[in-house]
Symmetry: C2
Subunit: 109 residues, 2 copies
């Protein structure tokens, strides 16, 4: 996986190397909310994300061990995506983002 | 400020609209660690960040009210950047990223 930042000593940069690219945290948000998601489910949920971008982000997440692909249909073969235990370790980041985002939304209301 | 995601109802997307662009969270990391930072300090710390990108990110953060510019020298006029109270509200996100990043680093060790 290409590194976003060349700062291997900094834990924040190391985390963002894995989940800092556009769309990645929203994919993890969806897989946190739903036990499993199909490609089209994710595409429908991620307004404006191109299919090839979604594929690239899913491959990176799979390579990083944060998600897994499971076959849910044989003919034709269809896949769904689920969080791994390692992927679930990201939930505190999503929780903190959600809390701060709610503060922003309240300030705009 | 151009929106990263068109998902105004989702607090995670709203948060990432403000702090989701590349380099932004690392700038906030630096300003959280140090009470104030000059442009060159930030540039030196952010390996690989171009000056014009740093300027753009600092303007966006200023526009969002997360940081402020303060003049620390009159002749010639020189500026430094500091977190605002609103900027300090992002610390739980940085804290969660740091904790998860440390987990990643430990797994690699």
């Amino acid at each position: 996986m290409a590194r976003l930042y060349s700062d291997p000593l900094c834990p924040v940069a190391c985390a963002l190397d894995v989940i800092g690219e556009k769309w990645t945290l929203l994919i993890l948000r969806d897989l946190t909310r739903n036990p499993s998601r199909r490609f089209q489910d994710l595409l429908d949920s991620l307004h404006g994300c191109a299919p090839n971008t979604l594929s690239a982000r899913l491959s990176s997440l799979e390579e990083a061990g944060l998600i897994e692909r499971r076959q849910y249909e044989q003919h034709p073969p269809r896949m769904e995506y689920v969080l791994t235990d390692k992927g679930r370790e990201v939930r505190p980041v999503l929780k903190a983002l959600k809390a701060w985002g709610q503060t922003l939304q309240a300030q705009k209301a």
